[in-house]
């Protein structure tokens, strides 16, 4: 945190960034590309089925595409994020485009694995750049969240505005000691909703759609979630950071006892004020009496 960004009496407790493995969800997409690139290369060039693919290169292109798209569909279904499928589709489409553009029909067995590996490296680099764009600053007054590659996002959260803290640690997080802490503000920032939908249909009849039925259902669940730049995403060491944040929140939240004390003090102040006023009135009336007495004495 720069000095000009710092508030009056603000002391930075910790500056954090996500753990290198905390974006495994995205890195897994690249890992799959590496695996598929190697497996595809092996099947098409080395395995006992290689002759089949060498004779008909278009089959190898199709096989490569099926491997990518099938994984995309499965991953999208499991994570309810169709962006994964679109991403793999884009890789496949661009790969096919390059094959036709550069006339690489005869060397698909070499091009496709190399291209897949290249795309996976690009994926790893993108995720790493994105990870490095994150900065979380925990000070004695607030938490500042920063992140974003092109658009810079920033969130500032004062401890007294935090109503709830959600913390989660996956298996990789438990192994490597990192985790995600989502502070939820009074306005509900940090809460997200997840929608899932299932639908099915049936068509009977070969030429015409004689019967079509579809069933669908939707479910919306409110979950503590936020963008990685609006939460303490994959911070290390998780337990210490969690404790620090909780202590900071506790230090800034008025407890029931403290509330009672404040009310009591208010009452005390009110009583004192009343007494002061009474004393004032009394002293004024005394003064008036004395003045009257003086006047009377003068008259006499």
């Amino acid at each position: 945190m720069k000095d000009d960004e710092r508030l009056k009496n603000e002391k930075v407790e910790r500056v954090l960034s996500p753990h290198p493995l905390s974006f495994m969800r995205y890195q897994a997409l690249s890992i799959y590309l590496v695996i598929w690139g190697i497996v595809f290369g092996w099947i098409v060039n080395i395995s006992e089925w290689s002759s089949f693919f060498i004779d008909t290169p278009i089959w190898s292109l199709l096989f490569w595409g099926i491997g990518l798209l099938l994984a995309g569909v499965i991953a999208s279904l499991f994570t309810v994020r169709w962006i994964i499928f679109i991403l793999y589709l884009a890789i496949f489409a661009s790969g096919v485009g390059l094959v036709f553009l550069l006339n690489l029909h005869d060397s698909i067995g070499i091009f496709a694995p190399v291209y897949t590996l290249f795309m996976s490296i690009a994926g790893f680099v993108t995720v790493e750049v994105y990870r490095r764009s994150h900065r979380y600053i925990i000070s004695n007054q607030r938490i500042v969240f920063k992140g974003g590659i092109i658009t810079k996002n920033e969130r500032t959260l004062r401890y007294d505005k935090i109503t709830d803290i959600n913390a989660k640690q996956g298996i990789i997080g438990q192994i490597f000691g990192f985790g995600t802490i989502t502070p939820i503000s009074q306005s509900g920032f940090g809460l997200g909703s997840e929608k899932s939908m299932a639908a099915g249909g049936i068509i009977i009849g070969s030429k015409k759609a004689k019967l079509f039925g579809a069933i669908g259902g939707g479910k919306e669940v409110q979950d503590p979630m936020a963008r990685s730049y609006f939460e303490l995403h994959g911070v290390y060491p998780y337990k210490k950071v969690k404790k620090l944040v909780e202590e900071m929140v506790q230090g800034n939240v008025i407890t029931a006892y403290q509330k009672e004390q404040v009310t009591f003090q208010k009452e005390q102040v009110d009583i004192q004020k009343q007494m002061r006023d009474l004393l004032k009135i009394q002293s004024e009336s005394k003064d008036d009496e004395e003045e009257e007495k003086e006047k009377e004495e003068k008259k006499t």
Partner: protein, 356 residues
């Protein structure tokens, strides 16, 4: 029929059971050495130890869940973390069902994961045949006959399994995946947990105590189990089949897989422990030598075809890695130096410092 009636009726069924027990104890001994290695590398490799703990807990929980499924208790709660696993049944069943579920928890992790690997091996592209004991040796229903049949079956399996392992093609995704699974199995196959606290449960006695309490808690069930084994033997005898030995042979095969997995995991852990002593970035050199030497050997043998290239490549990889580690230990640490040499090197470095 050969053999005395007592031998056939009383001792013969014991032979394969004792054979399996022997292999299981060997397994326990190797697990013990692995636990000691893990507890030694723990300060520097906390995540690795947590990972192995997780694998161990995963195996235990899955086995426990399987126990509840088999006893039709159902599973109401299944929770796994790096430190703790919990499996709760839907219906609390007492008696033999509870005992079987607990047996799955305590004994299952030694056999069930390896059994899955065995299934993987049979269904993988690797040509593995299930060899029943009877074609290998003439079946005799005596103690000696049974133990010989058991041994022959294990020998036949071990021949095939080691043949596969020594010729494993690390550039074959299936083979490489199998090796990874084998390593994971070796690392996770230990029932007791190496905790974060100082009181580490690393002793074999802890595992054996659990199993012993299971046995002594309800000794009657163990007797029933033994009786079931004997009855199965008599049925095999009556129909002149080799099913009894075959059943225990499978447990023996599983034990062999487990032992090999633990030995490979031990070698890896030992490499980690040794390289930890090498200072700086030099410690990563053995890990680089491993893939580079293997791939170089494979490329070389691609152009210079020889027989058993897979085996030679593996041997080259292993010996080069060992050699490099040894040289690094010798020249980068004081590990393999005599006291005189250490003194000399200290003098030399002191002299250089004085001159400087």
């Amino acid at each position: 029929m050969e053999g005395s009636p007592i031998d056939i009726v009383v001792f013969a069924p014991l032979a394969p059971i004792l054979g399996v027990l022997l292999f299981w104890f060997i397994q326990l001994l190797f697990i013990e050495s692995e636990k000691i290695l893990l507890s030694k590398i723990r300060p520097k490799h906390e995540p690795l130890c947590r990972f192995t703990n997780f694998l161990g807990i995963l195996f235990q929980s899955v086995c426990h869940a399987l126990g509840y499924t088999i006893t039709k208790s159902g599973i109401s709660d299944f929770y796994i973390s790096v430190n703790y696993g919990r499996v709760a049944p839907k219906k609390e069943k007492k008696g033999i069902f509870e005992w079987i579920a607990n047996a799955f928890l305590f004994i299952g992790p030694f056999f069930l994961p390896a059994f899955l690997l065995l299934v993987f091996l049979f269904f993988s592209p690797v040509n593995f045949e299930i060899i029943t004991p009877s074609p290998l040796i003439e079946l005799k229903y005596t103690f000696a006959g049974q133990i010989m049949t058991f041994g022959a079956s294990l020998h036949a399996f071990a021949e095939g399994f080691f043949g596969f392992l020594f010729n494993i093609d690390l550039l074959h995704p299936g083979h490489f995946g199998f090796l990874l699974l084998l390593i994971f199995l070796g690392m996770g196959m230990r029932p007791s947990y190496i905790g974060e606290k100082k009181q580490e449960k690393v002793d074999m006695l802890y595992d054996l105590k659990n199993i012993w309490s299971l046995i002594t808690h309800k000794p009657l069930y163990l007797i029933i189990l033994f009786m079931a084994a004997y009855i199965f033997f008599y049925i095999s005898l009556f129909f002149n089949g080799d099913w009894f030995v075959a059943l225990f042979s499978i447990l023996g095969w599983v034990s062999i897989i487990s032992i090999v997995a633990i030995i490979i995991a031990n070698i890896l852990l030992f490499l980690i422990k040794t390289t930890d002593e090498i200072p700086g970035i030099w410690k990563f050199i053995p890990y680089l030598v491993m893939p580079v030497s293997y791939i170089s050997a494979r490329v070389l043998f691609f152009y210079v075809p020889l027989e058993n290239t897979n085996f030679i490549s593996l041997l080259l990889m292993a010996s080069l890695t060992a050699l490099v580690t040894f040289l690094l230990l010798k020249y980068k640490t004081n590990k393999l130096k005599s006291t005189r040499k250490i003194k000399m090197s200290k003098k030399k470095s002191k002299g250089e410092a004085d001159e400087g």
